[in-house]
Symmetry: C2
Subunit: 142 residues, 2 copies
DNA sequence: ATAATAAAGGACAAATTTGTCTTCTATTAA
DNA sequence: TTAATAGAAGACAAATTTGTCCTTTATTAT
């Protein structure tokens, strides 16, 4: 709804990969899609783009799979921007190209603080935050 | 991004119709789509559904067109629900069917207050609020 | 009644998003 | 160096959203 399906899968997959990565484990696409309940081939595509954009890393061959280097510096916002772009936070809710603070659409003033808040939440949330709670069974990915 | 294109058009069209309605004028689809800069036939479809859902009214024939009865009771949320449904406010950001307060997805806690706030803003905003400012040239619809 | 007007409705088409399948490429281990 | 493993890449396909066009129906004025 607010995020694309691709982005939903991207986040859930990344959280799962991150949790495995903390245990120094790489994880294959089959395990990922099984863990988050997503279509395998489609998820593969999505992870490929995340790798291309240096969000995740991957290795081919036996004992290969996806993993996360520098997981501390990865925040939700990075994954969202990589898959859906920045539109959620900047483009006009009513689809007006010229909408701005000085030339606002009718909803501009109401929506701006809310989306700013959303941006802050996503920006301040490192993936590692989720991992601990995930392993405590506090969160679900599927 | 957060609203569908259909919903964007629906809102902009409704605001325009409301402003004309305050002057006891009905307005044709050509004028509407011209005023808000939207594809004519597509906008017609959208207004048809709004009429079917009793958001707007319409009259056929010469001097016909779209108009708004009881414009005081029409709020943004009604238009959003009529075109996009309620998903924006209730369905899980990460697309998990089972996501809830007791079985939350990793983003549940962060996102809930924000979407609640969004719902409040949309629910408290009567269309009439926009009309005055629109006529003062304070807002743009295109 | 007839002509003109304007929304309603249906069939169709383009674009985008979501998803599948098959082949290619790189890596590892025997 | 061969076989097995696993991601990368490309061509397709289904579904959804966005958009067009043409015909029908209702209303008004002459």
């Amino acid at each position: 709804m607010i995020l694309s399906k691709s982005c939903e899968y991207a986040i859930r997959a990344s959280v799962f990969v991150a949790s495995k990565s903390q245990k120094k484990q790489r994880v294959g696409i089959n395990e990922v899609s099984e863990a988050i309940g997503s279509p395998r081939a489609f998820t593969a595509k999505i992870l490929q783009t995340l790798v291309r954009k240096n969000i995740l890393s991957s290795a081919k061959g036996p004992a290969g799979g996806f993993y996360l280097e520098r997981s501390d510096s990865l925040h939700l916002i990075d994954i969202i921007r990589a898959t859906d772009g920045n539109g959620l936070f900047i483009s006009c809710v009513l689809g007006l190209r010229a909408c701005s603070d000085t030339q606002p659409c009718p909803m501009h003033k109401q929506v701006k603080p809310i989306r700013d808040q959303l941006l802050i939440e996503f920006s301040n949330k490192p993936i590692t935050d989720f991992v601990t709670d995930l392993e405590r069974g506090k969160y679900y990915l599927k």
